[in-house]
Symmetry: C4
Subunit: 445 residues, 4 copies
């Protein structure tokens, strides 16, 4: 990170020195050389940093292979961008400001590629917001473009023989005597006016050289502006996609309800379920979990549901194996308040265990008046009689508040129990102890 | 909503006062204080408004927790933006127009964050069109940006010692004597000219301070323009996606038909089916329903199809349970006019019940001349003999007008009937009573 | 379509008359009235045109309901836009050029909504290219915007008391004497310069009224430009999506091959298969077909494959029913030249019938030298012995040229044959007659 | 490729000659004719180049059909663009610079369509980066647009009677005497200033003709800019989609872990698995392979896994057939270091074979302290006892470094073994020889 500050400093100072400073002040010369020495140290260190082989995805830490890889790829650029050309130029010319050596010192801009790779890493780091990381990157690129072209455009004017026939001289005739700040701001002002295509026209190219530079700069601007807009569009599309999906789903459900004249309570259940699903981002998380291998999913299920399931009366005394295998096949769903989980008379295909929230047992057909028969709280199970004894559901089950409920498919339950004989008798004994009445009914079936 | 009007008023008047009014008129001063008092009341009310906990999704209405949450988040900003700095400034300076106090009164712009959260809520509300809500938001942002920068740019010129060397003074030399309206329109004109990057150049920065502000404003404009375009692109892509999907599907079908030289009537059936599916948005609604939990889907199916299915002759006298369980497994499809629902000789896998529309029974192979054998209307069933007796379909069934037809998979029908023995005999008796001839044929099988 | 030309004419002439013509020439007055009368006739006709009810998707042709719907929706606008205000104005003022009546005649622009609905219809018509339809629409909108604002801006200058203080008068002092063409071109030139945000600045607002109009126009331009770019992006994304998908798939396959060092001939088979699949747009068409109801898919399969399958030796003498049911379950695939269809020793799960192209039977393991054993042409079947007698595939089957091959799952084949006892014996007899050697082998199994 | 250079040369020189050169120098005249002759040769060659029929996807090499197709499509354009109008014009006028013949020579621009088809081909070639190919195309289009309009705009000024009233004459009064380079740069400078909508205004239209051209050019620019931005957006969206998907998946997993307070080691396993999956692009490659026909997938599986599987002790001595059939059903997964492959007590559904990497066998429940029981390396198999003897997994299996593991579903294994009786006994004998203890246990089951 400290190196990044140096990179930014040197990439900013480099074109500035190039354009505005005829004679380098001693302080700046010193700072430049100190910065350079830091980069020299960094080059030396690179020979000892392991890298990941892109083919086998393994870490390589052999010094020889590291050296071979570095020397054959970026070493030459790094070395050139650190070599102190300017210091050497003192031995040749008196002022060290000959154009050739100045151009060589522009090689330091190569260092900017480090900033590029920093941003590439930041973009993949979820601790930073993608939108702002990306914006910061684009802003840096724009800022550097404005700075570079401003400096370069000033240099063209500065070296033109007739000051009146330059873009700045046409407005400020004796601009060379003006102080540095005014000249720099004017150059940046022209640069940004051109880059944003505002083009007031108060400062414009006067001679062929300036026109040529302006032509190239405008071509570059066209590409840069398009790139900026493209990136912003990308970010906006990405940022609003959730809201759009939610709206589309909600609207489709709402239209379906109004077109088919569904009763008010069914429509409300539909819409509140959709709202909840989007609020909890259930879909996205479910998709992520589905992509994981089985062992990890089992670990997760064990952590989350084992403590709840082992306390359920049905599995009291059952072996660790049975509960573990059942838990790995369970699915957790959220239900908003006042939603039906099972309807009366439905054919049951799942067993339900309440993780949190409260639930009412309701008797009566949905359309007529309803009668609350009881309530269930976290840790209780429902649907077990229906599933284990093949009886259609005798009650409607409805949530009273936000509830998280585990679901286990009856086919999975049967298969797992069948493979663990001893557990099967334990489970059935538990069932009959708690629900003595259904004992007979169930056995006859 | 009333508060929103006040927010917009205060965010508009605030920079305007700041830039154009040296001495605040008494009426405005009064209005400002009244508006401020409304916001003070609002701050007090916030202490009594419940909020939803972002972790557990539960409503919190304990006054203590509300207070802690508010005091630790936004209270300090709200308080600062409501504190009457300007009134206090009267005690210190005579005119109350010192720059410091004016800057403090800019804190009122903090109130704008309320508009942001209003729009965020509106975007999720399907009663409002997404396109226009989003456009209104972007337009507000642009308008405020233009207003702010116009005011600020005027203030720079107004406070510059030499009026001739300012952006407005270069064009209107004695601009300070001009009336307020002309000065305001000119400032806004410059601001919008720069924001849209038109940049006529008739008004442009003249001194370094103006250039600096212009540089920052143009950077901001670049980002804003990109953001506007990004949003518009997003909206356009979203808005046209249905048409595009329709075109792609239609074209793929059309190309398939022409490449394989399909007969005219088959091609027409294909294309009209695709048109109908897109017109009724069947796909989107089906997807929405598939995402709902089973109990809600059962409720919907019961509301929609129970009254129709219970009147079908096949299920006369059957138990509520049986019909309810069948209904929850049914699927509704739309068929355009003149489309074949079943072809003669096809192996049947579904039972069909007509909800609306009219249908012809046709005998003969498709390629030769056809012969209408009968017609079926809403409430009638077809395919029942084929499914229950395993006979290949003896007739082609073709719609004559737009028809909605329920489909029930034969596997589901068998499973459900098998679990309800008594109903099975009722259903078979109904079948043989209505179709006496097939009795023998079916039994031998 | 004829009406569309009139609409475009009247929407172009309307602001032109408004701005540039103080006294309406007689010819134009006549043409205007003729055009108006056409629209009056169209209004009358609308009362007799049936419409589709948006709820039930049925055509409504009751004159009363049509009238009620039209009168309650668009009639009032249509009537106002056709009412000859200009003709009436002659009775009041002498020249018929009072501003009020001119503004009323702007109501004719309402007619433009017809162009909008025309384009909406064209976009859904696959005979027209989506890209160009959309471009034409956007171009029309831009053209009208440029024309309108050009006319309006000229009118502001024309009515301003001091000609020198207007945008056009500052450049052409006595512009009112110039000919119409020059004035119109100048106005359009200013308009397009502003709309595209070029903003040369040679023509710019001079007084407050012009500035105000310019402010509104630039706001509009911002929205329009964003809308244009959004649309273009949408079209580009849509247009290049196929190429991108192709590249991604191809690259993934290519990388997979090079990373795993797959032999050359396997890689070539992979890549040429992917190329062919994209060239024939197999995927898109398959998706379209999958969305169609079963009866249509059966019709298509019958048209395409029945003539081929009934000639296959295996099904000689089999009933229409059997072949029809098999045909509806078949899938057609394209294979590029030199691709393996089945490998030697593979466990067979499908029966293959060649529709077109030529195929080699090859003996030997893939890695060693191969030996051509025979060839198969269109109408021949392979894999039948393996599927019907459960023998692993004795030969590799490889295409020599582009081949279309039907595939039938063995499970489907068995199920269909089992339900048609008589056909089963015919099929087995055919098999043993042609392949006498395998008779014994197969029966013992 | 050589022809492409000629095409670019002639499309660049053509408008340049047209606008700037009154009298064509002899050298250029010669070069023009040489270039023309190359194109004439190319036309002749086209008659002998085979083409692919767009309907049947077959190569057509009949000379007659090629000729018919070419003559009926593009021949007339190619011929016109190659016909030496300029040479002929010498016979009529003395200088060969009459406007008519110059316009005819503009027909050469037709040749540009070749560049279009070259780019279309390059875009589909994965050896070239899509981003840069597309950028190169857009840059060429922009460059040509700038060149054409610059030349044309200069020509308008050049032919205008009053040099002072032209866009260039207003700035450089005696521009016709200036050297070619200055005039060309100025024209290009104006052109690019307008195209990028910078519009400084130092050069602007002065007469109606110039205004008209400028109007058309600005309309074109609007479309071109929108097209450029659209393309750039498309490229950016395409280029960042992988990073975005990765971030979304990673974030969803991370949020899920923190919300459910998963233990640290489970969260780490989840996240490192997701990282690895994206690094190896597993998903994209898996999707590609799934789209290939079965024979190719079998070939790939054989190349990759046969040498490993045949050395596994379980399949020592088994027939080629058995191993081949098993190999074609195997799936390869990557596991990051320290990830659990199977948990203790899990019900096994797969057999695993290690391709590369090292694996630990761990005893003990995950939550308590663990005990390393052994290690497995490449070529070893695990889970075989559990799968073949139906015993729940006795150990946790965890990777120590990046491992590639083959997975075979137990159902597939049983089916394949059942169909090869002799192999079944070999496999079971191998199993018991290596694991003598489990012999009894397994047999009793």
């Amino acid at each position: 990170m400290f190196l990044m500050v140096l990179v930014l400093y040197s990439s900013w100072i480099c074109p500035f020195e190039f354009a505005f400073l005829h004679y380098l002040p001693t302080t700046m010369f010193l700072v430049d050389n100190i910065v350079n020495s830091f980069f020299a140290i960094d080059i030396a260190l690179t020979f000892f940093v392991a890298f990941v082989d892109p083919k086998s995805y393994l870490l390589v830490d052999e010094p020889k292979r590291i050296a071979v890889r570095y020397l054959s790829t970026w070493f030459i650029f790094d070395a050139c961008s650190t070599f102190p050309f300017q210091t050497i130029s003192f031995f040749f010319s008196r002022h060290g400001n000959s154009l050739g050596f100045k151009l060589l010192s522009m090689l330091r801009l190569w260092r900017l590629h480090r900033v590029g790779s920093l941003f590439a890493r930041l973009e993949k780091d979820i601790r930073f917001n993608y939108f702002w990381t990306r914006c910061a990157k684009l802003f840096s690129v724009t800022l550097l473009a404005v700075h570079f072209s401003g400096c370069f455009y000033y240099m063209i004017a500065d070296r033109y023989p007739d000051p009146k026939r330059t873009w700045i001289g046409a407005v400020i005739p004796n601009f060379r005597e003006d102080n540095l700040w005014i000249r720099y701001v004017t150059a940046i002002y022209w640069s940004i006016t051109t880059l944003t295509t505002t083009g007031y026209g108060d400062l414009h190219a006067e001679n062929t050289g300036e026109m040529l530079f302006d032509i190239f700069y405008m071509f570059f601007n066209l590409a840069l502006t398009a790139y900026l807009i493209g990136n912003m569009t990308n970010l906006v599309v990405h940022g609003t996609s959730r809201t759009k999906t939610f709206r589309d789903t909600f609207q489709a459900a709402s239209e379906f309800a109004s077109r088919n004249k569904l009763p008010r309570h069914v429509e409300e259940q539909m819409l509140s379920h959709i709202c909840l699903r989007f609020k909890t981002e259930e879909l996205k998380q479910q998709e992520t979990l589905d992509g994981l291998p089985k062992a990890i999913r089992s670990s997760i299920a064990e952590c989350l549901f084992y403590p709840i399931v082992e306390k359920v009366y049905l599995f009291q005394g059952a072996s660790f194996n049975l509960i573990f295998q059942l838990v790995t096949e369970m699915q957790a769903d959220y239900f908003p308040p006042k939603e039906d989980v099972i309807l009366q008379n439905e054919a049951l295909t799942d067993l339900y265990i309440i993780v949190s929230g409260q639930i009412f047992i309701i008797k009566g057909l949905i359309i007529y008046n309803l009668q609350v028969q009881g309530r269930l709280i976290a840790g209780e199970v429902f649907g077990e009689i229906g599933v284990l004894c093949h009886i259609p559901q005798p009650f409607t089950i409805r949530t009273t508040e936000l509830a998280q409920i585990l679901r286990l498919q009856s086919a999975v339950l049967f298969n797992t129990i069948r493979e663990n004989r001893q557990d099967a008798t334990i489970v059935m004994r538990n069932l009959f102890q708690v629900n003595p009445i259904i004992d007979q009914h169930c056995l006859t079936k």
